[in-house]
């Protein structure tokens, strides 16, 4: 870096302004400023701008940010808690039960004949309660209707038993999970309370600001009114003086003899 400075070396002038120069460079700038009134004036005016910038402060905001780590994931909303607790085989059985029940309601009939496999539904036809027609000779005997019903009833009973057992175990599981949930609840309540407190403080702060603002505005208005009244007084005084002058003139004129 050169030990002399020219008027166009604005980078060095800025560095000097912010006091960020090595000693030798600072001395070079000072030597230049001592002999250059224009650069000295520019430096002074830039310093004055910095002085104005110092007066610009952001409004006082309530911050208080905080990072809160969640302790557990939320349960999937679409599934009930009891359903997620069921073992997989029970869920499969329940699904089979639903399908079977649907098939029974829809009066689904599956037949296998010479023309191949056929599936029919009979939403509008009442289910045929009589004995099933005899199977064609040479074909495997299809399971009878009462056998299906018995199997479905057994399955339904088993699923029901499992569900009852799960429901009976639910309070114990809930009790085991309770401390964790209670802690989360306490945390949420604390956060809500803190937030409400912040809002109350903010509201009080704003109200107090409004009150003081109103007061300052009132004082400013009073000053303006006072000034206006002063101007009116001055004008009225001038007008009165003019009237007095006019009256004096008329009086003087009226006392003079008519030639």
């Amino acid at each position: 870096m050169s030990t002399t400075m020219g008027c166009d070396d604005k980078e060095r002038l800025v560095a000097y302004l912010y006091e960020d120069l090595a000693t030798s460079e600072r001395l070079a700038v000072e030597r230049h400023l001592a002999g250059c009134a224009a650069c000295a004036a520019e430096l002074e005016s830039l310093g004055a701008v910095r002085g104005l910038l110092a007066g610009w402060t952001p409004p006082d905001a309530e911050l208080g940010f905080e990072i809160v780590r969640s302790t557990r994931r939320a349960a999937p909303a679409a599934r009930g808690a009891w359903a997620s607790a069921l073992p997989v085989w029970a869920q499969v059985a329940a699904a089979a039960l639903v399908v079977a029940a649907g098939a029974a309601i829809a009066n689904v009939q599956v037949r296998y004949g010479a023309e191949g496999l056929s599936v029919t539904t009979g939403w509008l036809n009442a289910p045929q309660m009589g004995p099933a027609p005899a199977a064609p000779a040479g074909l495997a005997q299809a399971p009878r209707d009462d056998e299906w019903r018995a199997a479905l009833a057994a399955l339904e009973e088993k699923v029901q038993r499992d569900l009852d057992r799960l429901r009976a175990d639910a309070p114990a599981r809930a009790a085991a999970a309770a401390p964790d949930e209670a802690a989360v609840l306490r945390r949420v309540n604390a956060l809500i309370e803190a937030s409400e407190q912040r809002q109350r403080k903010e509201l009080a702060y704003r109200l107090s600001q409004m009150g003081r603002d109103f007061d300052v505005q009132r004082r400013a208005d009073l000053v303006r009114i006072e000034r206006g009244l002063g101007q009116l007084d001055a004008r009225a005084g001038a007008e009165a003086a003019r009237q007095r002058q006019l009256l004096n003139y008329v009086m003087r004129a009226s006392t003079q003899p008519v030639p």
């Binding site: 980078e11 104005l52 910038l53």
Partner: protein
């Protein structure tokens, strides 16, 4: 003795949320002030400050200490400010709410200051805010980082991804434009009166 930023960052990376919250408390005001002076809106500046810490927390595992933690925060906040301005598609509006500043100034100054002086100070502050808002973004950011956050020329150059000399030029040009605008607004005369 206060724990250094670096130590708090290291603990935060290890999963200590309280340490990160200490960093938040330490840096939330400077980040909010940076955002406010850059975009000029109090509420949005607060949102940006909050978002800055949230993003920093999420990105913390990737922070290798190649820069100071504060510089890293400044970078995140400035990027968010830039996104905000891009979304707004306008120059930043500097909110210089009447009344609020007046009241704050009145509270600061005490009862000896006259109404005229209060108004003059408020007008000066507004003039500065408006003149800053009219600057090109690079010049405004350089001035904010230098004047209000005391960053070195090199730190500003790193944040703005530009050479050191460019930072000085931006500062000089920005201050020169400000001087012209403040002269036109009569702010320097106002300062003389107060």
């Amino acid at each position: 003795m206060a724990v250094s930023d670096e130590d708090l960052v290291a603990r935060s990376i290890d999963g200590d949320v309280d340490s990160f919250n200490q960093l938040v408390r330490r840096w939330e005001r400077p980040i909010y002030a940076l955002a406010y002076r850059t975009i000029g809106r109090e509420e949005d500046a607060r949102d940006i400050a909050q978002d800055t810490f949230l993003r920093a927390f999420r990105a913390l595992p990737g922070f290798k200490g190649q820069a100071k933690f504060s510089s890293w925060l400044y970078r995140i906040a400035l990027n968010l400010c830039r996104d905000w301005m891009r979304r707004q598609r306008r120059t930043p509006l500097v909110a210089a709410p009447e009344g609020v500043d007046l009241v704050e100034l009145a509270a600061e100054q005490g009862p000896v200051e006259s109404i005229e002086e209060l108004v003059a100070r408020q007008e000066m502050s507004r003039a500065v805010a408006e003149a800053m808002a009219a600057l090109p973004e690079e010049q405004r950011t350089a001035i904010i980082l230098k004047e209000y956050h005391g960053l070195t020329f090199q730190e500003i150059a790193d944040l703005q991804n530009c050479p050191l000399s460019t930072v000085k030029t931006r500062l000089y040009q920005g201050l020169t434009v400000l001087r012209r605008q403040l002269d036109a607004a009569g702010a320097r005369g106002m300062r003389g009166r107060t």
